[in-house]
């Protein structure tokens, strides 16, 4: 027993010494050849510079690598690091219950001029923390606490604007493939989705009014953002009811919608198209997804950081629309950017490369988006940019329903807070 023990100890000690020597040698050589990663270099150089503005980006629990929300937030922060010269650090909470302690300890340290909170999950932790640290500034992205605080800014998007533009383009695309019905697969009936619905219906009715071509819209809530199966079923139903252009507004659920559109085309049932939202999603099936609406989380993060750098802090709610480039349609550069990320992750379909994606998307867009629809969309975009028209934001479900029913009657102005369509 004793012998066995000492033998084991000897082996272990020799093992440790061996590993330590190897590790030491490696450590020595890496030190000699300088820091090994770019991440380390930037961290080191920024840390030593005094007086630099420090910003902490706190991700959603999912963290980076989602090809969407969190990655776009990081994109905006990296742009701020480059253009505004601020120091950026990132942190991903492991779970919901880490959010409050994390927020508390960062607020208490006072080390960061701004804490950027990415995503709705931060809403309740922020409500717990914000009042206790009045000198700590917070920016909540794509959500609102509903409380006005001098140290908090909530950055939201005017989803109606992108919905309206997509509505016009979708209607035009439907007519170019001999259909007069467009559809949408939506997630849950919640305020941001109400705004998308109002915008999308507005766009369809605007198209109808300006061209005299009748448009029928099928809107369907699936009740979930995470169930592709439900998205597939909802999309198939809409396709069978004659809708040929479907707008996906349900996160993972509308990936199922994309699959339904792909199957519909491959089964030879005729042409149908899908439209993505938030990030550029054309790469998923470029022949059948010619468009994606954008919701620029990166712009929101950048805007928040800029407020600190330029020293014009405006607490409360800020909304980003077409004018601020917070929403819109992804251009081909955007399509390429996301196709490249997807390419690196090995997610592009059937041996395509980013060039193929951009080429196919461009061809499909030229072929199926008629010029008159594009002109209408550009025109509406101009009106939104100049502030000639501004959309109404429904405060509750009743107001949302009444706006929708007025829109269905053809009363476009019911959706507007300012300006009118004549």
């Amino acid at each position: 027993m004793r012998e066995a023990f000492s033998r084991t100890v000897a082996v272990v000690v020799i093992g440790i010494i061996l590993i330590a020597v190897v590790a030491g040698v490696i450590y020595y050589y890496t030190m000699q050849s300088g820091p090994t990663s770019t991440i380390t270099t930037t961290q080191m150089t920024t840390a030593t510079m005094p007086g630099k503005i420090k910003i902490a980006i706190l991700f959603d629990v999912g963290g980076r690598g989602d090809l969407s929300f969190n990655d776009m937030a990081a994109l905006g922060a990296e742009r701020a690091r480059r253009d505004l010269g601020v120091e950026i650090v990132y942190q991903t909470p492991r779970s919901l219950d880490d959010m409050v302690p994390l927020l508390e300890s960062l607020s208490r340290s006072g080390e960061y001029q701004l804490l950027v909170l990415v995503g709705f999950l931060w809403t309740s932790p922020l409500n717990v923390t914000a009042d206790k640290y009045p000198s700590q500034k917070y920016a909540l992205i794509d959500a609102t606490t509903g409380v006005y605080r001098p140290n908090e800014v909530d950055i939201l998007f005017r989803e109606q604007e992108v919905g309206a533009i997509v509505g016009i383009l979708a209607s035009g695309m439907a007519y170019s493939i001999n259909s007069s019905t467009i559809g949408a697969v939506a997630g849950m009936s919640i305020p941001p989705l109400w705004k998308f619905h109002i915008g999308y219906l507005f766009g369809a009715k605007y198209f109808e009014k300006m061209t005299g071509k009748k448009i029928n819209l099928i809107w369907q809530y699936t009740g979930t953002f995470v169930d592709p199966q439900k998205g597939y079923i909802a999309a198939m139903q809409e396709l069978e009811q004659g809708a040929r252009v479907l707008y996906g507004l349900a996160g993972l659920t509308h990936v199922g919608m994309f699959n339904a559109v792909i199957d519909w085309n491959r089964q030879g049932k005729g042409l149908a198209f899908g439209i993505g939202q938030d990030a550029s999603q054309e790469w998923y099936a470029p022949q059948y997804i010619p468009l994606s609406g954008s919701k620029r989380v990166d712009v929101a993060v950048y805007t928040a950081i800029k407020m600190i750098v330029e020293n014009r802090w405006t607490p409360g709610i800020i909304t980003l629309g077409v004018a601020e480039e917070g929403v819109g349609i992804w251009d081909l550069d955007g399509v390429r950017y996301f196709a490249e990320i997807a390419y690196e992750e090995g997610k592009l379909p059937g041996g395509m490369n980013p060039d193929d994606i951009v080429r196919i998307v461009n061809e499909t867009r030229t072929k199926y988006i008629p010029a008159y629809a594009k002109d209408l969309a550009d025109n509406l975009m101009k009106m939104l940019k100049s502030g000639e028209i501004v959309f109404r934001t429904p405060r509750d479900e009743n107001e949302y329903n009444s706006i929708i029913s007025e829109l269905l009657k053809g009363n476009l102005n019911a959706a507007l807070e300012k300006g009118s369509i004549t």
């Binding site: 090994t36 991903t92 492991r94 919901l96 219950d97 302690p101 809403t123």
Partner: protein
């Protein structure tokens, strides 16, 4: 005399050597992946243990899931289902909290949830000889999707549909009480295991099935009771999370629950299946998790790499226990 001194030395040296090996491997790994290795390790260990309140809150569910693994393990049942038992416990606790608003009742609902699930695994093992690892892993996933379905479809907050309605304030508990509960449960588990007939039964049939049968103990009963005890504790952990940790909700991605049951296996092995050891190992692991989050901010390391390092440390520290199990298996 010499024997006990030797034992003491062994129990002291073993974790220290393991930790040293773990850190050396981690440094090696960090160097390969190109991160500032010493700084990462330094940040993990120095910032993880500074906020005592946070540390103990974080450790509380680990204590319970650690016990949920260890108690059945003492009877030689491998309860890998702590994860699913935790989910069902959280679900029943949430649902019952809206009707009763009484913390005791809500905690009991959680216990019931974990208990039901563990019981079904144990009964399958006893009467149908279904391997408990296989059935528990399958049940884990069933529970995962069941709970996320219920949160997304029935229990969601109309104002914030990505999460459940919060537990009513009358049913919430202070996070200190949460730790105290977990601590007391560990003490009671120790008493049950070491000083009662039930504990003796579990320990004997875990040590040797043949001796147990010879002594008139039915090993199937040990399996049944130890699983019921373990499952109940995992269920309790599931109930305590929405009750004791702000915000008092479970979100639809279940980030508040995911992985706590699995981590319990590491915590249990690390604590050498001793309830007091488990309290210590829970706090140790909780500190690593907290420090790991800060390491991302301070050193720029990816959170996934942090998880790898935590994995290396937990495996190295529980390796002697794993060896013991393998050796015991070979002797049988």
């Amino acid at each position: 005399m010499r024997g006990s001194a030797y034992r003491f030395l062994e129990s002291l040296l073993q974790p220290l050597i393991s930790l040293a090996i773990a850190i050396v491997i981690s440094i090696f790994f960090l160097q390969i992946t190109g991160y500032p290795s010493l700084r990462v390790i330094n940040v993990m260990f120095s910032t993880g243990y500074s906020d005592i309140q946070y540390l103990l809150t974080k450790a509380s569910p680990y204590i319970l899931t650690g016990l949920a693994f260890s108690i059945p393990f003492t009877a030689r049942v491998f309860n890998i289902g702590g994860e699913g038992q935790l989910y069902l416990g959280a679900l029943l606790a949430l649902a019952s909290s809206y009707y009763t608003g009484n913390p005791i009742f809500v905690a009991l609902a959680g216990v019931l949830g974990g208990c039901i699930l563990a019981l079904s695994v144990a009964l399958l093992r006893i009467y149908r000889n279904v391997n408990e690892v296989v059935s528990a892993i399958m049940l884990n996933w069933i529970m995962y999707y069941l709970v996320s379905f219920f949160i997304g479809s029935y229990l969601y907050d109309p104002n914030a549909p990505y999460q459940s309605r919060p537990v009513p304030s009358t049913a919430t508990i202070d996070s200190n009480i949460m730790f105290l509960t977990a601590f007391m449960v560990a003490v009671i588990s120790y008493i049950i295991l070491r000083h009662t007939a039930l504990g003796f039964m579990i320990r004997v049939s875990g040590t040797s099935v043949k001796s147990a049968i010879y002594a008139g103990i039915d090993p199937r009963k040990s399996i049944l009771y130890s699983m019921i005890l373990g499952g109940s504790l995992a269920g309790l952990a599931g109930a305590l999370i929405p009750m004791g940790v702000r915000p008092h909700v479970i979100d639809s991605t279940m980030a508040a629950l995911y992985g706590i049951g699995f981590l319990g296996i590491g915590v249990g092995l690390l604590g050498r299946n001793n309830p007091f050891g488990i309290i210590l190992s829970s706090i140790f692991v909780a500190g690593l998790v907290i420090g790991g989050q800060n390491a991302e901010r301070i050193t720029g390391i990816a959170p996934e790499i942090v998880d790898v390092i935590i994995g290396i440390i937990v495996i190295s520290l529980s390796a002697p226990m794993i060896f013991k199990i393998i050796k015991r298996g070979a002797v049988e």
